[in-house]
């Protein structure tokens, strides 16, 4: 998909490269965008496209270049090479125009902890040139929408983690941006707060907002994104819809733990016999199998019942990012941590 216009057979009438603005279906597009911090290549020739009104998920471990990517697209940082367009505007030459179209919610809360939630939002409204009355009304409206009305007049430092993220997201929406950048919006949140934030993002997309979401959670990308780009070491290593990706990497993991530890071998033999293609892993008293066929679970359940193997766990879950990476790169994600620190240093 992303190399489509490099194919000489494809006939497309895209406006010329050097037009200030052009209309395409894409709200966000990058071509060979690259960012170096000294010797470190944080983003390495990435091509991304996000169709207007959709969610593009950028999935990757710490230090993969996700934040650097977002900072370039949000005009906080300039690419070393390559180009990017947001809303048809070049992110370097037309940075002021880009800024008037976007909202940004970063990993670090861009809110003032001493100010109340209402004051934080009103402040952004005033900055954007709204008359005081409108800025007040808009902040009340957002606080209600984000379930923060009760805490509107409390200082933000008294907010819980989830409330802070919601306030931060609200702050990025004061000017009704058409394109929203969410940089790891739910990292560090508990599952309930995460679910609430997902609901809010879905609402925004339903209203026509284009979202670029970076995340470390496969589940989050699966829940929200129409398209996912998996990135690692600053490069795109896989793209596709969540379904395509799951098919490619065996998106789900079946975990079976027998009640009697001694039956672990028997269990593994059974799985190997039934599904010779699958490669069961034995660890911590349980067997895990990567599966992408919905039929595996009921078949095994029937077999296990027939053989009288009692279980303490029989659980089908989405593969973790770690498993995705293991499949795609043959490495586990922990190795990335050192690079992440380098990237911070370089900034």
């Amino acid at each position: 998909m992303r190399h489509g216009n490099q194919n000489p057979c494809t006939v497309r009438t895209l406006p010329k490269e050097d037009d200030v603005s052009h209309s395409t279906d894409y709200a966000i597009e990058t071509e060979g965008i690259t960012k170096h911090f000294g010797d470190l290549v944080a983003v390495d020739h990435i091509d991304l496209n996000a169709r207007a009104g959709t969610v593009l998920g950028v999935l990757g471990p710490n230090g993969a270049g996700k934040t650097t990517m977002v900072r370039m697209l949000a005009t906080l940082s300039q690419p070393t090479a390559g180009t990017g367009r947001v809303g048809g505007y070049d992110i370097v030459r037309n940075a002021p125009e880009v800024r008037s179209l976007i909202g940004l919610t970063g990993q670090f809360a861009g809110i003032d902890e001493l100010l109340t939630g209402e004051e934080n939002l009103r402040f952004i409204g005033r900055l954007l040139g709204m008359p005081t009355r409108d800025a007040k009304a808009r902040s009340r409206e957002l606080l209600a929408q984000f379930n923060l009305a009760d805490a509107a007049d409390k200082p933000a430092k008294a907010y819980s983690g989830g409330m802070r993220r919601r306030l931060d997201l609200a702050a990025s929406l004061v000017g009704r941006p058409k394109i929203l950048f969410l940089d790891e919006p739910t990292t560090g949140l508990d599952p309930r707060a995460r679910g609430e934030l997902w609901g809010l993002v879905r609402g925004l997309v339903a209203d026509g907002t284009t979202v670029l979401l970076t995340t470390q959670y496969l589940e989050e990308a699966d829940q929200l994104a129409h398209e996912i780009a998996v990135i690692d070491h600053g490069r795109v290593i896989a793209t596709g819809t969540p379904t395509q990706l799951k098919a490619k990497i065996g998106g789900q993991t079946l975990r079976i733990q027998p009640e009697d530890h001694g039956q672990l071998d028997a269990l593994r033999d059974l799985v190997a016999e039934r599904f010779p293609d699958l490669d069961p892993m034995v660890e911590a008293g349980a067997i895990t199998i990567g599966v992408n066929d919905d039929g595996v679970m009921p078949t095994l359940a029937a077999d296990l019942r027939d053989r009288g193997i009692a279980l303490t766990e029989f659980h089908l879950g989405l593969s973790s990012l770690d498993e995705v990476f293991l499949t795609l790169t043959g490495r586990r994600t922990e190795e990335e941590t050192a690079d992440d620190e380098n990237e911070e240093e370089a900034k």
């Binding site: 990993q107 001493l114 900055l127 954007l128 040139g129 409108d134 990025s172 009704r176």
Partner: protein
């Protein structure tokens, strides 16, 4: 959700004009004032040091310095106000440094607002602290028996102080942008401000200094500011120190403001 939604102004594409820049700077200053409203202890905090300096200098050094504490109060109040104003500008830099590291500026930079607005707004708001400190120090001075030259001159003195502080705040902004921690901003500031204020006419008659020190003290901007404050509040010449104060203010602003803005832009790599 609500029947009547509030429309954001149609985003004006392109760089903000002068009117918008001024309005954005005022919004930034508003944020700083609301911070003081929520944390009024900040004002107590920044009042303590001028109060202590004034009491200690007058009642400890006064007799030795000028023969009587009342004569020394009449001499030193202007100097202490000048010194305090320069120290206060340090907090502009530490505040900007903290905001930069917390990611607040990332949000600002993603908004369609003037690049200079966050910095200028912070400087502008900090002028409230300057005026507050002058009120505290002149108020305490009056309680201690200070004789004010005239109220009109005192207001002029405050204005002059604010203008000078506006200009030299950019030194602090530059340090705040460049330094990687608030503590470093403080260390840099102390290393510069302490010697600068003591090698001036703020606390002593510079004619008592050795020749090389006199030569420096005569051109030291703090001398001119302290003399101007003393002239306007208490006694002595006004015109010449005032002129040199403005010259220094313009020179310092012209050099440091562009450097600070350049460092700020570079911060955005």
């Amino acid at each position: 959700m609500t029947a009547a939604t509030i429309e954001a102004p149609a985003p004006s594409l392109g760089r903000p004009g002068l009117g918008a820049t001024v309005s954005q700077t005022l919004s930034m200053a508003w944020r700083q004032m609301v911070r003081i409203k929520h944390n009024p202890f900040e004002l107590v905090d920044l009042s303590l040091s001028p109060i202590m300096f004034l009491l200690l200098f007058v009642y400890v050094f006064g007799g030795q310095m000028a023969g009587s504490t009342s004569d020394y109060l009449q001499y030193v109040l202007g100097g202490l106000i000048a010194q305090n104003a320069i120290f206060l500008t340090m907090y502009t830099g530490t505040g900007i440094n903290a905001d930069l590291r917390k990611g607040v500026y990332d949000r600002f930079r993603s908004l369609p607002i003037a690049r200079s607005a966050p910095l200028a707004g912070k400087i502008f708001a900090d002028m409230f602290k300057q005026v507050w400190s002058v009120v505290i120090m002149v108020g305490l001075g009056l309680l201690m028996g200070f004789e004010l030259r005239s109220v009109g001159y005192a207001l002029l003195a405050t204005l002059v102080l604010v203008v000078f502080a506006l200009a030299i705040s950019w030194i602090s902004v530059l340090m705040g942008v460049v330094a990687d921690s608030e503590e470093k901003v403080q260390i840099y500031a102390f290393v510069i401000i302490m010697p600068l204020t003591f090698t001036s006419s703020a606390f002593v008659d510079i004619n008592t200094m050795p020749g090389f020190m006199q030569a420096w003290a005569k051109v030291n901007p703090v001398t001119h500011l302290a003399d101007a404050m003393r002239g306007l509040l208490s006694y002595g010449p006004i015109g010449e120190p005032l002129m040199w104060t403005f010259v220094w203010a313009v020179v310092i602003f012209a050099v440091t403001a562009p450097l600070a803005m350049r460092a700020y832009r570079r911060k955005m790599v």
